[in-house]
């Protein structure tokens, strides 16, 4: 076995200050096999792959590809040795064509020939062989997420890689698209490639991998053949035993707090707007929004959050229809907004915790009078949140950029929940958080629900939606499915809706 190892990570250790991101990790990938690299956020998977790709230099240990040790810190070395990676966040230039993205950096930079014709032939040939249908002339910006992923995979295959690494490749796919991806991967194995599949979705790991390697807190904690294990055992290895997901009691839905009646908004660039959707958020209930990313989730979040007013249709909050609809108006109406991106929209990096805590309400009478701020009451308020929501920080005067994602999210939660909101917009509330923080956020949302709030939960993680939601709507190209109650639909059935089927029939029926 050991002799046909195509890729070997030997004893890799990497420290960031005091944090040990990888602690003597060793891993071997054999020819023609799929190894699943399993681990929670922050377990060290990404750091390990960045070392393999020369983005980081390991403090200790070496990377070997086909028996050759790679020079550390050289991003080209791994590529030239035949290792390709499909990143979780695609590395594509949206304003350029598929072909331009694929051929970027493949030819010597200072060549005078563009080789367009040969490149094109090869892309067409590869996309047929591996069942990856794309139009080489399409602008990447106009493609769906699934198509973009195909371009990412083609990028690697075009370079003739022998080893393919996929980082959370199914996070943005419908169940059906995931099946297509697996078909492609099997085709790749048949063509002699070897694959590392990074994921935290256990059933997918079971379906595609031959062997599972588990990382926890930077350490390799388990290595088993997939056929010898089951999701439960893997989950235990991945999380340790400490964290348990919150218990969920049945919802007690009350009256409608926010109602959308045939609301439409304009498309913004490639992001679809809303297409005459109707939705009712009820008190004491979590309404989940499932869908492949980029199908109108942002438009709905912007609408509920006050960033965008309806172009057509009516929005009713607590029985009245606001004449102007702005973020300030939304906050005033008691809507708590947890934004999709903590760093870009949720917080101001160089503001301290106090300044971030009052961000939505600095001009309310609690914190200011006739244009002058009352810093003392602001600081007291921030300290209250820090204590109540367990925000770990050196103090309220710490710049928020120095906090971990989990603590940042706790401050945001405190900021929006402190007022006792009636409506909560939770847009990807746990993305990128470690398991402890995930459970904390989820339990806070459930507590708010039980206290009578109407929660709109938007997530690309179908498992999260299914677990938490009392009612699920699917969004596709800006259209909204009817609501399905807890347990009414299986994941594959939801997947059919996510792929855009059933909407016309539902529209006719209503």
């Amino acid at each position: 076995m050991a002799r046909d190892g195509v890729l070997r990570l030997n004893d890799i250790t990497k420290r960031f200050g005091k944090l040990i991101a990888n602690d003597a990790v060793s891993l071997t990938l054999h020819r023609g096999e799929v190894v699943a690299l399993l681990g929670e956020n922050g377990a060290g998977k990404t750091t390990l792959m960045n070392i393999l790709f020369g983005q980081y230099t390991a403090d200790q240990g070496a990377v070997e590809v086909f028996g050759q040790t790679l020079p550390p810190g050289n991003p080209r070395a791994a590529l030239d040795a035949g290792v390709g990676m499909v990143h979780q966040h695609f590395t594509l230039a949206g304003n350029m064509t598929v072909q331009e993205n694929i051929t970027l950096g493949v030819q010597p930079l200072f060549s005078l020939r563009s080789g367009t014709q040969t490149a094109r032939k090869r892309i067409v040939e590869l996309s047929e062989r591996f069942q990856l249908k794309v139009n080489p002339d399409a602008r990447v910006g106009s493609l769906t997420v699934g198509e973009r992923q195909r371009v990412e995979i083609l990028k690697a295959l075009y370079r003739d890689v022998k080893i393919l690494i996929l980082d959370e490749p199914t996070a943005v796919l419908t169940p059906q698209e995931t099946e297509d991806l697996f078909a492609t991967l099997r085709q790749a194995i048949a063509n002699g490639l070897s694959i590392i599949f990074i994921s935290h979705k256990l059933h997918e790991v079971m379906a595609i991998s031959d062997r599972v390697v588990v990382l926890r807190h930077g350490k390799l904690v388990g290595e088993v053949n997939t056929k010898d294990t089951d999701p439960k055992a893997m989950s235990a290895m991945m999380m340790g035993t400490s964290a348990t997901p919150p218990d969920i009691v049945p919802a007690q839905p009350g009256g409608v707090l926010l109602q959308l009646d045939r609301v439409s908004t304009a498309d913004i660039g490639n992001a679809p707007g809303l297409k005459s959707i109707s939705l009712a958020l009820k008190a004491g209930q979590i309404t989940g929004l499932a869908g492949v990313s980029g199908n109108g989730q942002a438009a709905l979040a912007d609408l509920v959050g006050g960033m965008q007013a309806p172009d057509a249709g009516t929005l009713t909050v607590n029985g009245d229809t606001p004449t102007s609809w702005t973020p300030r108006e939304a906050v005033a109406k008691g809507i708590a907004r947890i934004p999709e991106d903590r760093h870009k929209t949720g917080t101001i990096a160089d503001f301290d915790l106090t300044e971030n805590a009052i961000l939505e309400r600095y001009n309310s009478s609690d914190f200011s009078a006739s244009g002058w701020l009352n810093w003392r009451s602001a600081r007291d308020y921030a300290n209250g949140i820090i204590e109540k929501y367990d925000v770990r920080c050196p103090g309220a005067d710490t710049r928020i950029r120095l906090l971990s994602g989990g603590n940042m999210q706790k401050l945001i939660l405190g900021r929006v929940l402190e007022a006792g909101p009636q409506i909560i917009l939770a847009n990807q509330p746990v993305r990128g958080l470690d398991i402890g923080a995930v459970n904390y956020v989820h339990s806070q949302l459930l507590a708010a629900r039980d206290a009578g709030a109407a929660v709109l939960l938007i997530s690309e993680d179908l498992d999260e939606i299914i677990t938490l939601s009392d009612v699920i709507h699917v969004i596709s190209e800006g259209r909204l499915s009817p609501g399905f109650t807890r347990g009414e639909m299986t994941p594959p059935e939801l997947g059919i809706w996510m792929a855009g089927h059933g909407f016309e029939e539902a529209a006719v029926a209503s």
């Binding site: 230039a93 350029m96 563009s114």
Partner: protein, 314 residues
């Protein structure tokens, strides 16, 4: 003389092409920088430095083309400074750009005072002379306008083709454009974003300096303070107006230069005598602002323009 007569005269168009030439060089230089994702506000100062360096080299006895090369080298040096601060260190492109402009301008004036301490009016050099391209120069109107220019003007037009070809038809151009659209796409393919961006800024700054050198070595034959006079800023507007495309930027530069040449001629008419000359001098700047407003709504800005790239952040 009527405006129609002016527009139909070959000498008018010849002047327009001459006025456009330095703008073409500098606009292409800025365009290359911005295509790679770096706004280079050092342009104004780099043009001043180029104007002086080229002229000074020729004045001290080198050939004209060597002077152009010296100007280019000086521009590249300032490009190296600009890009070192803005690319690997990711400093504010606004602040660094203005700082480079100030440094290049004041260093040039300092060098001028050191080199020529005693003179009251700057000495002249033997500048580039118009070269008639046989045959082509005989075409009515177009011939004298386009084909009886100095070699440096021909070089400006050739550079449009070269830059356009490189950007759209070579792997290097693909990498430069990608660096301005999404640097992580470049990094993921094993290319150095830092290298590409720095290279683009250095080369671009070299072209800006040649644009400045055109003023002292082709349009005029001497170096004056304030001679660049905001042309750099106008070039930044021209890049936007040209939608970051070399061909459109060329058209913009010629259009702009034609207006400039027109205002000079209208000043000498009876209409011109009735209006303060400052109004005419304002026209290029006003025109630039109008152009910016006109294209602002449909501008396709490189997506990563002014966005620094740091490998640590994703």
């Amino acid at each position: 003389m009527d405006i129609i007569d002016i527009l139909l005269s070959a000498s008018f168009w010849a002047a327009a092409i001459r006025i456009a030439s330095p703008l073409i060089f500098a606009t292409l230089g800025e365009l290359i920088c911005e295509r790679a994702g770096v706004l280079n506000l050092g342009i104004e100062g780099i043009m001043v430095a180029g104007a002086f360096a080229g002229w000074m080299a020729v004045y001290s006895g080198t050939g004209l083309w060597t002077g152009v090369a010296v100007a280019m080298a000086v521009g590249m040096l300032f490009g190296l400074l600009h890009s070192t601060l803005t690319v690997p260190f990711g400093l504010s492109q606004h602040v660094v750009g203005l700082g480079v402009t100030l440094l290049a301008t004041s260093a040039t004036y300092y060098a001028y005072r050191l080199a020529l301490p005693e003179v009251t009016s700057p000495p002249k050099i033997e500048a580039f002379q118009p070269y008639r391209i046989p045959g082509l120069a005989d075409i009515p109107l177009i011939g004298p306008a386009l084909f009886n220019q100095t070699p440096l003007t021909y070089a400006a037009f050739a550079l449009v083709l070269i830059v356009s070809f490189t950007l759209y038809r070579t792997p290097l151009g693909l990498a430069v454009r990608a660096a301005g659209e999404n640097p992580s796409a470049v990094a993921a393919q094993g290319l150095s974003v830092t290298g590409i961006r720095m290279g683009a800024v250095i080369i671009g700054s070299g072209f800006m300096a040649v644009g400045g050198a055109f003023l002292t070595m082709s349009a005029f034959d001497s170096f004056f303070f304030e001679m660049v006079n905001g042309r750099g800023w106008i070039c930044i507007a021209l890049v936007v107006f040209g939608a970051w495309r070399p061909g459109k930027a060329l058209l913009g530069a010629i259009l702009f230069a034609a207006f400039d040449a027109l205002q000079i001629r209208v000043q000498q008419t009876s209409l011109g005598a009735a209006v303060p000359y400052q109004i005419f001098l304002m026209m290029p700047y006003v025109l630039s602002i109008v152009a910016l407003v006109l294209v602002s709504r449909r501008a396709e800005v490189p997506a990563a323009l002014m966005v620094p790239f740091n490998k640590g952040e994703r």
